[in-house]
Each structure stands twice: as C-alpha cells, then as structure tokens.
C-alpha cells in the first residue's frame, strides 16, 4: 500500500515539475519531452521510491524559488533518471544467474 501511495505522490510531483518546466522553457520544448522520455524509461521501483520523491521535491522547490535555474534542475533529474533506467538496471543486475 505504501508503495502505491508513493507512486501516486511521485506522479503528482512529477506532473507539477513538468508544468513548471513547460512554462519556463518555452524556447526549448524538446527539453521537457526529453525529461518525459527519461521518466518513461526509468525503473518502476525507482519511480515509486522515497529517493525519487525527495529528489523531485527538492528540484521542484528550488526550481520554483529560482526560475533562472530551470535547466539546472531538469538536468539534475535527467541524470538521476538515467542512472535508474530500466535498461541500465537490467545490465547491472541480470535476472538470471
């Protein structure tokens, strides 16, 4: 149940972050698309983790506080999502011994 709550909470936070980014990266909408792609390729376990919620909350709060650093926080989240991509996880932890 806790995992489900975190998943819903993280999805909501990510949506808020995307909305904020869309409003502040109008010259480069492809950046938001790139972030969404990274999100869709991330491991489901990571997407419902406390680690992701904390990172997302931190980035959203900071991005809202300083709108001149939007790309910095998008880049930070992209890097984190890349580190936890489902493909990368599969390579590091093979399912069969």
């Amino acid at each position: 149940k806790e995992g489900h709550v975190l998943k819903v909470e993280n999805e909501k936070l990510f949506g808020e972050f995307l909305e904020h980014c869309m409003a502040h990266t109008k010259e480069h909408p492809e950046v938001v698309t790139f972030l969404q792609t990274k999100y869709s390729k991330a491991s489901p376990d990571f997407l419902m983790s406390v680690e992701f919620r904390n990172a997302l909350g931190r980035c959203l709060t900071r991005a809202q506080a300083s709108t001149t650093k939007t790309f910095v926080y998008i880049n930070e989240l992209c890097t984190l999502l890349k580190q936890h991509s489902a493909k990368r996880r599969a390579l590091i932890q093979p399912s069969s011994p």
């Binding site: 502040h24 480069h28 492809e30 950046v31 790139f34 709108t67 001149t68 650093k69 939007t70 790309f71 910095v72 998008i74 880049n75 992209c78």
Partner: protein, 32 residues
C-alpha cells in the same frame, strides 16, 4: 521606467545545464 528583463542565460550554471541537455538531445536524435 524600463522593466528589467531577466534572461535565463544570465545564470552561468543554467547556461551550462541547457547546453548539456541540448547536446544530449541532439546526440539521441542523431543516433536514431
């Protein structure tokens, strides 16, 4: 009185992050 325009590129950290992101997008696009 002219209003002060804030440009995202005024922030060096933001400028670097933007460059990095656009380069990654370009690389992804090129690789298919």
């Amino acid at each position: 009185e002219p209003s002060q325009v804030v440009d995202d590129d005024d922030d060096p950290e933001n400028r670097i992050a933007k460059k990095m992101l656009l380069a990654q997008i370009k690389a992804n696009y090129s690789s298919g």
